[in-house]
Symmetry: C2
Amino acid sequence: MTIVLGIDPGSRITGYGVIEVNGSKSHYVDSGCIRTDTDAELPERLCQIFEGISEVVRLHLPQEVGVEQVFMAKNADSALKLGQARGAAIVACSALRIPIFEYSARQIKQAVVGTGAAQKEQVQLMVCNLLGLNKKPQADAADALGVALCHSHMQQSMIRMAGAHKIRRRRLR
Amino acid sequence: MTIVLGIDPGSRITGYGVIEVNGSKSHYVDSGCIRTDTDAELPERLCQIFEGISEVVRLHLPQEVGVEQVFMAKNADSALKLGQARGAAIVACSALRIPIFEYSARQIKQAVVGTGAAQKEQVQLMVCNLLGLNKKPQADAADALGVALCHSHMQQSMIRMAGAHKIRRRRLR
């Protein structure tokens, strides 16, 4: 059993989602969002993200973390803001030596919906379906659960690939 | 006496400079740079910045921190990288509740050289002059010392302004 934390960082709202992965089965544990005080100065807001994620880590003790990779930001100003939020969220986990994995939006869509061209809303709906949630979580929390599901999916694929490779090697002998 | 830490964050090199401020006098304490391992993954590199700054903080116990404000990044990609490094460096101080002040490049040049239009090299030379250094520190370390000097200068100006304001108020009575 592995506890996986997914994070969707943002300067105003940082979503988080925690799932429990047991073989090919994933169960919902917790999700939510850290809203920064828009009136506060930047260092205080980054501190809120850092402490919010640290609190989730203390509570659920995740063994692995997934975070969405940013390929192309809209513009330099929003990239700087997103970068600062990402930095604060990532060090809250990496300072505790929890392995962090980055996934592209395409990989997340592919893993959750089955197609890399899926819409954002489809991902959020599938997150609810896959985890058997009656109520749709807040958008950023749902996105974070999507990253966590993508991570568990990718790890499973790697285990399967490693297994197939072993079988093939055994047959070749 | 106030210990001021200046930080010049960067994804590859993060400069730091520590000065001791006593009234209008500033003395050099320490400076250097945190070089991240370019072969390492992003979370590991951000962790190196976070831990590097945390170590400097543990060693010198600064009461105030200055960091250069980023107004306009070159492009979205470099803004994201710089943002992540800034986020990691800033939370290392803000999580410990050390007040952090941001200064524009113009404010730093004005405070250190006397003109907001000064060249980067002039700032580094003036940093050596003001702190009586025989050897020019590495560029990022010198920039960080420049931010620390700018902070002490701005604080002194505010104290003077507050003093002048008090005198004026007393005269008006």
